[in-house]
Assembly symmetry: C2
Homo-oligomer: 241 residues x 2
DNA sequence: CGCTGTCTTGAAAGGACTCAACGCCGGTGG
DNA sequence: CCACCGGCGTTGAGTCCTTTCAAGACAGCG
């Protein structure tokens, strides 16, 4: 199977043989994490960044009084904490949702890339900018949409992101996320997540059994969520010269 | 007066004479915007990024049904849409809150920097990462804190950011932000913003008359907001070699 | 002086939360 | 093979934070 990082970055434009070689070199060190295990502790200053090769992970912030906000869900191919390259100590932590295979990319290697591979640098920079764009949309759903729209919006987002890495099956995908975690991500109590999901099921927009989510009415779901996928910038091109 | 961009980036480490010269060169083209004027339209694909030299500006997203989310307030020295360098079309727009003097930095110049000035590249990259860190904290306040804490938190944040660019006077600062805008930023109705501010005034945490905000009890405000300034990464250093 | 944008206030309605309890299911151990 | 257990999903009822709607006060500006 192709290297997930190369695959990810090539959506933004073709890579040279040399660039691919560099990316191969920096992603060979892998580690396995178990579900619930902490991949990068909140507030730490890691010396490498974690690329998710397989499995689901989250990023989260805790407020001083212990409340948790999940700031991102990560799927295979995502660089969960690329920002820790320059941003230390990290304000958020990364944790495994399922068993995760992770490549540790040393920050020293990233620094070398900024010195010798300007195009790769821009593409990596872009991937952190897309992260920010997703944050802004989440802020918009948190601040200005209702719970039902927020959840629907996320289900649409996850669909498109999984599709872009080949993890969609027809109209369904794996979503190993508990209702408590959805609540922590979208500013809702677990109880309310439960009720909203029931509504979405009752309206025949989705079916969810266990960890599998089936989208019965994609258009309806997108309409209710006012969803437009532009902000994911999938296939956003980066100029080479 | 020193170039605000140079001043901004030097907080992350000293710059060489040559680097300072480059930064001077890319920031000489300035434009004045009037209050309420659009600086960068939402959804556009600008060919330059806007550095705020003086005045206040916001960044905002609109949902399809017209609701607005303000995703950032910008003060002098901020690169309001540095992310538009690589992220096009832009998902958010920039607008002036007050009269703003803005430097237009051509993206072609930024690209040259990524080719020839790796350290500058990393520092600029960092500044977009800090932007993302602030987004995450806002997500946390939006998702997991109450209206009163959210507003208090922002007042603390603004204080520290203005102080870092020398715009604090003792315990007060200019805040040319309407209650409607605060509502659009922190997920509240204008009416509720008004009531919460009244509470903060009644508890003698702040005094606000017109556009001036006075902090009467900084510790109390920070305590209520559960505020810690780490996420702003002021003076975060970037390794040079 | 009148206009417009902003701030303020009151009352009623509603979305979401908390608390508490129960059912379900897969894993573990005897 | 079955009982126990913990994690997760589900329900009901009461409460509260926040919104909406409507209207009036205020202030800066031309």
């Amino acid at each position: 199977m192709a290297n997930p990082l190369i695959r990810k970055l090539e959506q933004h434009g073709p890579l040279s043989e040399e660039e691919r070689h560099v990316l191969e070199q920096i992603t060979f060190r892998t580690v396995i994490y178990q579900p619930r295990e902490e991949i990068v502790p909140e507030g730490s200053s890691p010396t490498h960044s974690s690329l998710i090769l397989s499995g689901f992970a989250i990023r989260h912030n805790h407020s001083p009084d212990g409340k948790r906000q999940i700031t991102a869900f990560h799927v295979p191919g995502d660089f969960a904490d690329l920002h820790s390259f320059l941003l230390k100590p990290l304000d958020d932590g990364v944790a495994a949702l399922t068993t995760c295979k992770v490549a540790n990319v040393p920050h020293s290697d990233l620094k070398e890339i900024t010195k010798n591979y300007p195009y790769l640098t821009r593409v990596l920079w872009l991937s952190t900018l897309i992260d920010g764009a997703v944050h802004r949309v989440w802020m918009t759903t948190l601040g200005r949409m209702e719970a039902r729209e927020r959840l629907a919006h996320f289900l649409c987002e996850l669909r498109d992101r999984l599709q872009s890495v080949g993890l969609m099956r027809d109209d369904s995908y794996d979503m190993p996320i508990t209702q408590e975690q959805l609540g922590d991500a979208f500013g809702m109590s677990t109880v309310h997540v439960n009720r909203v999901l029931q509504e979405l099921r009752a309206d025949d927009l989705i079916t969810s059994s266990g960890k599998t989510l089936i989208i019965n009415d994609l258009e309806g779901l997108q309409r209710q969520a006012q969803y437009t996928p532009d902000y994911l910038h999938i296939n956003q091109k980066v100029e080479r010269d």
